[in-house]
């Protein structure tokens, strides 16, 4: 094997025409479909978000972390009480979960893990582009990514002309932007000129926005953009703080605080996308789950299997999709972590195929080097 980093900017989109895949033209496929990814950095604990009900072993190992009252999903799984919006959407077949899932990474390092959750690769730092960026490029969807962060996230890299939205502490006067734009007119710098064009074409609400510490405002603006038929088709949110080594707690612990943030973002997106929510998929992404056993600080250590939280009108039905591996010692990964029985990249690959009207087989080859990733579109999403 040769260790060069692959360059996906070259030759990605041209092969599209060779794939032999032509999506059926229907009214539904004419509607813009949105794919929203929320990165949960630090290692989200699937067993706190979507706890398995009545497992004696879990109760025993997590004496101080057990949720006293969970929202009801089905006979096997409950939902953390802070994830209210998911519960509400569950009733309408607009929320679902994939459980005992993770990227194929077992190293338990945040840095390597976060790199891999974004690149979708097997070896940390080997790839320079993100699976979402490559998916967009392969689908010939250019300039439709919106990152809700200041640096362009690795996840979206690999496709040109993404936008990012993360307003500065104070806004910039339009007059100034126009003046600088004029000065660049005579220049041959196409990149800066086209970027200034993007800035000037922004809706007023985006232009005068300030204060990126207010996640509510950011989500609101993202919803507005995504709702626009000619706006972005992909949005990426970033949350961190899931690394709860101590005082993780149950209903009201440190992990609950983070889940509450996810809940807030999804609530705002749901409220403000309106009809467009029916053509939207929201998926979470994390580097790993957490150990079963609580540690000395009533927190948990880095683990393996976790869960994906999903919402949106493009879901097939409310369900906890899982090939549950069990929590007995011999069923755990290395005797300590919830195992992963679903490669989460299969979920993301299928989600991209739905949202980008693309053959999953084609995407699997273009984006994930032809790795064995079963097509889960039928099971999880509306086709």
């Amino acid at each position: 094997m040769n260790c060069t980093r692959r360059n996906f900017l070259i030759g990605g989109s041209t092969t599209l025409f060779l794939s032999g895949y032509f999506p059926k033209i229907s009214f539904a496929s004419m509607q813009k479909k949105n794919l929203i990814i929320i990165s949960l950095r630090g290692g989200m604990d699937g067993l706190t978000a979507v706890p398995v009900i009545g497992d004696k072993r879990l109760k025993k190992l997590r004496k101080k972390l057990i949720l006293e009252d969970v929202l009801n999903l089905n006979s096997d799984f409950g939902l953390h009480p802070k994830l209210e919006i998911f519960h509400k959407l569950w009733q309408k077949n607009q929320a679902a979960f994939v459980h005992a899932t993770n990227i194929p990474y077992t190293g338990r390092s945040h840095f390597d893990g976060q790199n891999l959750m974004e690149t979708g690769a097997h070896i940390p730092y080997k790839e320079k582009t993100g699976w979402l960026g490559r998916g967009l490029l392969a689908s010939n969807i250019i300039g439709k990514g919106l990152a809700i962060s200041l640096p362009m996230p690795l996840l979206l890299r690999g496709v040109p002309q993404n936008n990012n939205f993360f307003p500065s502490p104070d806004f910039v006067e339009t007059k100034l932007i126009d003046q600088i734009y004029n000065e660049f007119k005579g220049e041959h710098n196409e990149l800066i000129k086209s970027t200034l064009d993007t800035i000037r074409q922004r809706p007023l609400s985006m232009q005068i926005a300030t204060d990126s510490d207010d996640r509510k405002k950011l989500a609101l603006e993202a919803a507005k953009q995504l709702k626009d038929q000619s706006g972005p088709r992909v949005a990426v949110f970033d949350l961190d703080g899931f690394d709860t080594h101590a005082a993780q707690g149950g209903v009201d612990g440190a992990h609950a605080d983070e889940l509450e943030e996810v809940n807030k973002i999804v609530t705002i997106l749901h409220e403000n996308l309106g009809q467009a929510f029916d053509n939207t998929l929201i998926l979470t992404l994390t580097e790993f789950g957490r150990t079963i056993k609580q540690n000395g600080g009533y927190g948990t250590e880095h683990g393996y299997g976790s869960a994906i939280l999903m919402a949106g009108g493009l879901l097939k039905k409310s369900q906890v999709y899982t090939d549950w591996p069990g929590l007995k010692k011999k069923e755990l990964f290395e005797g300590r972590d919830l195992n992963s029985t679903v490669d989460s990249r299969a979920v993301y690959n299928s989600a991209m195929s739905i949202c980008f009207n693309q053959d999953p087989e084609f995407l699997r080859k273009e984006v994930f080097w032809g790795d064995e990733l079963p097509d889960l579109s039928q099971e999880l999403f509306k086709i």
Binding site: K64, Y125, F166, Q179
Partner: protein, 478 residues
């Protein structure tokens, strides 16, 4: 010669500097010696800061997490107190001040530009608490002293530094046939070996294979921190024979005989003097100082200087500057946000960094807003130097720095924040004109753009002026 040469290879000219009659000589003469660090405030040693790092992780991991296991609020409070006590929120601010004080006042600004370059070539990305405690002193104590030695010596120092070993997990890399590897059923961690090949020396152009990475990782096993209960992972680096993979190794077709700790120096010698390494690093240097896509013609003299001097960095730096001078008039280079900020600070004598007296810290309360200001600005313009996202450091390509939000952040800084950093004696229109004249050939044209605001000296008026002139094509680029 255009005045932009002073920004191309340095940070522009401050109001009390004048253009030199011989700019090339001016630049080349700055590279033979290591200028002293000028910051009059505290400059803690790497070892001292590593001790603080240890106090912080020990205090949190071994004490607080156990003590407040039932109470997230009490835990947060105690953790905040520990942050204050160990300087966890302070030392990075101080390091930024040391760095920016240097680029603003150094008499050898060209040397300082190379300092920034090498620190980013051997980047420490955001991981654990490295940015808080260790990346700054690593820049000062590992990168800087090696800048008048050979490239090979620099690679040796970097590779065995605590900061890089922690950054790339070499302490977790065990030879599978070593004593400890067999006892504990552990194996190698390839991170450091891969980056030593890919980022620090030969680059993927050398065509190495996964087997080469593994073999190099074997050679590197044993170079690790000395762990103990109190210092945890912050102990000194040593060579632990009991972690070292036994047997001969082969990297890029060269055989390295089983020779314990001496294997590493041998393989680094071969990597650091490899023709593909020389070409790769020379290209990066030219990319930084000349243009994003330097041609073979631009790079060739740098490679020649490298070969002739056996990798002496002084000679290599001089060759790079000579090329930057030669191509100054017909190439362009877009500057990343931090260098742009340093240039504005030097050219317009801005009030950053904070005076060292005000930077004094008592370890009794959180650093105040003024102390945090420079680091806050760096973060807001998208370029906090010691927090690169990945081990390949910050990009040196225009395409990675031109996004809507990143440009807007510069407009914001120049029109809103910068006016508050103008010293009280420098608020006149004439002061701006003097600085423009000192640094830009088309200063008259620039002056005409802000002519309308010539009478204003309020923050708002200054914002109108600086907002435009700091973001003109010829200022964002040289």
């Amino acid at each position: 010669m255009s005045l932009n040469f002073y920004r191309r290879v340095a940070f522009g000219l401050s109001p009390n500097e004048k253009p030199d009659k011989d700019p090339l000589n001016w630049a080349i003469n700055q590279l033979d010696t290591i200028p002293d660090l000028l910051w009059p405030g505290t400059i803690p040693t790497e070892k001292d800061l590593r001790k603080k790092y240890g106090e912080w992780v020990y205090g949190d991991r071994e004490v607080l997490r156990k003590k407040f296991k039932n109470d997230k609020h009490a835990y947060r409070k105690a953790k905040d107190e520990l942050r204050i006590k160990t300087g966890e929120r302070y030392f990075e601010l101080n390091e930024h001040a040391i760095r920016h004080f240097q680029t603003k006042y150094s008499k050898q600004p060209v040397f300082e530009r190379f300092w920034l370059f090498w620190g980013n070539h051997f980047a420490i990305s955001e991981k654990d608490f490295l940015a808080e405690f260790s990346t700054g002193p690593y820049q000062r104590e590992i990168i800087r002293p090696n800048m008048v030695k050979t490239f090979e010596e620099m690679v040796q120092s970097v590779t065995t530094s605590w900061c890089m070993i922690h950054h790339l997990d070499n302490s977790e890399s065990f030879g599978p046939n070593s004593k400890k590897g067999m006892e504990w059923g552990e194996t190698i961690n390839e991170n450091h070996a891969r980056e030593l090949l890919e980022l620090h020396t030969v680059s993927p152009n050398a065509g190495y294979t996964q087997e080469d990475v593994i073999q190099l990782a074997y050679i590197m096993t044993g170079w690790a921190h000395k762990w103990d209960r109190k210092n945890l992972e912050t102990g000194d680096i040593w060579f632990d024979q009991e972690m070292h993979q036994k047997g001969d190794k082969i990297v890029l077709g060269v055989k390295y005989k089983n020779d314990a700790k001496r294997e590493l120096a041998k393989v680094i010698h071969d990597l650091a003097t490899h023709p593909i390494c020389i070409k790769f690093v020379s290209t990066k240097l030219c990319r930084h100082f000349i243009t994003d896509e330097p041609t073979d013609e631009m790079i060739k003299p740098v490679i020649e200087a490298w070969n002739k001097s056996n990798g002496n960095l002084i000679e290599i730096h001089k060759a790079v500057i000579t090329q930057a001078y030669k191509y100054n008039e017909n190439t362009h280079k877009f500057h990343p946000p931090e260098i742009w900020l340093m240039q504005l600070s030097r050219m317009f004598d801005l009030n950053i960094p904070l005076s060292f007296e005000k930077m004094n810290y008592t370890f009794k309360s959180k650093p105040n807003n003024r102390q945090r200001q420079l680091s806050w600005i760096l973060r807001e313009i998208g370029h906090s130097p010691y927090r690169a996202k990945q081990p390949n450091g910050w990009s040196d390509l225009e395409v990675d720095w031109v996004s809507p939000e990143l440009l807007l952040r510069r407009f914001w800084f120049a029109s809103v924040e910068l006016p508050m950093l103008v010293k009280s004696g420098n608020r006149s229109h004439d002061f701006i004109l003097t600085c423009l004249k000192n640094n830009f050939d088309d200063h008259e044209n620039m002056a005409s753009l802000i002519e309308n605001f010539r009478f204003g000296i309020s923050d708002y008026d200054l914002g109108q002026k600086y907002g435009v002139i700091c973001n003109l094509p010829g200022v964002l680029k040289t």
